[in-house]
Symmetry: C2
Subunit: 344 residues, 2 copies
């Protein structure tokens, strides 16, 4: 089959790889209908050292079940399914606690002999725990929104959920990428009435307003902090959702959070240390978040997508064929596209 | 009156200072019956540059109300009262949320013209919000335990409370100082059945066992981490209560916390950055805690002290007169004493 291989920074190729086959009785084979490119895929796209062998890439996809191992129940050939960006048995103690990203028998796509999502097909380990059946057909208009359940929307939701956003909390969202916009949508869904979105791209913050942002701050650095302070009587917001992953963003988060408030981070951190000094200590600020256990949120979010209450798929603004996946990466890296669907 | 003045590292003196007087109608004058020395007083005791003028010091005391401003109600001359280590109006929005350390009209003792606790008397600003009446006499045997309500016990309690310790959580407490032992007592009170105490001083960890610790780890560094892992099937504990404030301690905390767990810190941080890298992110570890709003916990904890259910005053193992306060500091700094009561 054909699949996406990254050979280094800026070097995305589509190559022939072995067709996936069932190996374990807990496996399933899924023909990919739609995949997409993640903001986190851009980190290796920007920095990976050259590699002749290259590495599989992609961790967001939905598709049709083509084969099932003998131990997989609850799924059938022909089912349309979405896969969260971490596979898991969904039965161990961590999974039972809603932390499928720490599953005792789980792992990441495109690692250690596991297929990536940006290809024609995927062998899905722990298929019964991992895959969620979608009660629509593969040509449904809802597919882009359902595809967001693999990562970007649950990631924004994890940010708002772990921050304990509720109707009594004011919220700042840092970042107008697809995760930041998803966090806006999540904060709105959790009842926040004041959602301040920090972002520099008007087309993106405009979508943020449609998703529920009440204020947009396009300024940068100290000016953006002042603006949040001005909007909140000097106090900052109860919750700050950090959806970027750069140190500057987490520093801004601590600068705009209210005393006793919570910063949640879901942007994969491009830093090793967090500035939480004596001042932050005296203000009783909590830092939470982390990699999102998408599987934990799918059952809860799916009905709202199916009935059209929320449309997280609006973060997709471009679709490419698998052959054009490299151009999809380029477009996202150049900020020409917000988030790109890949159709094998 | 006589009060304690710190003139630099290792230089504690008792000097004559102006008698406190009512200045605001919200003030009270309190004659100090018992004060104590805090682990945080040892930071300037170890590092303060020499100062001829010196600075008042001490923030934990209980005493007798001697005078009341015209706006103070609910208190009377002769009442025995305890003062939390931050004074506050107890009515503003932060106070109403239980964050009296961020009170809009509050502040710290021994700063900006406010008396310190280690003296014969104190002018108490925002007396109605700050002081809590104790229904005992000034010679009661309960006084040391009641004195802990000013700081050390609520600080340990804040650590366990913000970490959300409950009967289903395993707990590691880092530090066998008075705060760490208070955190053990607090974790026990909140129902934790497994409480692992890390500390190197047998007399202190023995008291920790009496307070509820189920395991003691005397090893240091990597060995201590391994031991927690061994005690928890390799997973670490759900909650880690960091009661030291050194970077090594917070690093240990992240090394022994279970995926999806929470580190709470109440040791005043002697560092500016917290190591929360990609690995911590992938494990969804939360960092909470901060300076304890002692006032928020006093009403809840007082009954258990009055009826003898808990005896947090057992952390005191020495009493000195005000004239001997310098020796009290020396004894605590040399680890000869765990925590020292000062009687003016």
């Amino acid at each position: 089959m054909r699949a996406t291989i990254i050979h280094g920074a800026g070097d995305i190729r589509v190559e022939n790889v072995p067709d996936p086959q069932l190996r374990e009785p807990t496996d399933a084979l899924v023909r990919v209908v739609q995949a997409c490119i993640c903001g986190s895929d851009l980190w290796p796209y920007r920095s990976m050292p050259p590699s002749e062998a290259g590495e599989r890439i992609g961790h967001e996809f939905l598709g049709i079940v083509e084969e099932l191992g003998s131990d997989v129940s609850g799924l059938h050939r022909g089912d349309l399914v979405v896969a969260p960006f971490v596979w898991s048995d969904n039965t161990c103690d961590f999974c039972s606690e809603g932390l499928q990203t720490s599953c005792r028998h789980g792992g990441l796509w495109a690692r250690d002999g596991i297929d990536g999502g940006q290809g024609e097909a995927v062998r899905v380990p722990q298929a019964q725990g991992t895959l969620v059946k979608l009660p629509v057909t593969e040509d449904a208009a809802l597919l882009p929104s359902l595809l967001t359940l693999s990562d970007v929307f649950p990631t924004g939701y994890h940010c708002a959920h772990t921050a304990k956003v509720n109707p009594r909390t004011t919220v700042t969202v840092i970042g107008d990428g697809a995760v930041g916009l998803s966090a806006v949508l999540a904060a709105k869904r959790l009842g926040a009435e004041r959602i301040i979105l920090m972002g520099h791209h008007k087309d993106r913050t405009d979508l943020g307003i449609e998703f529920g942002a009440t204020d947009v701050i396009a300024e940068r650095g100290e000016e953006s902090v002042e603006k949040v302070r001005n909007l909140t009587g000097g106090d900052g917001t109860h919750r700050v959702l950090e959806c970027v992953g750069l140190k500057e963003a987490i520093e801004t988060a601590f600068a705009v959070v209210r005393d006793g408030g919570t910063v949640s981070r879901v942007g994969a951190p491009q830093y090793d240390e967090v500035p939480m000094d004596f001042g932050v200590f005296m203000r009783n600020v909590t830092l939470t978040g982390g990699v999102a256990p998408a599987r934990a949120y799918i059952d809860e979010l799916l009905p709202d997508i199916l009935d059209g209450t929320i449309q997280p798929g609006r973060v997709f603004d471009r679709t490419v064929s698998l052959d054009d996946v490299a151009d999809g990466y380029r477009a996202m890296a150049d900020r020409e596209a917000l988030k790109v669907v890949v159709r094998p």
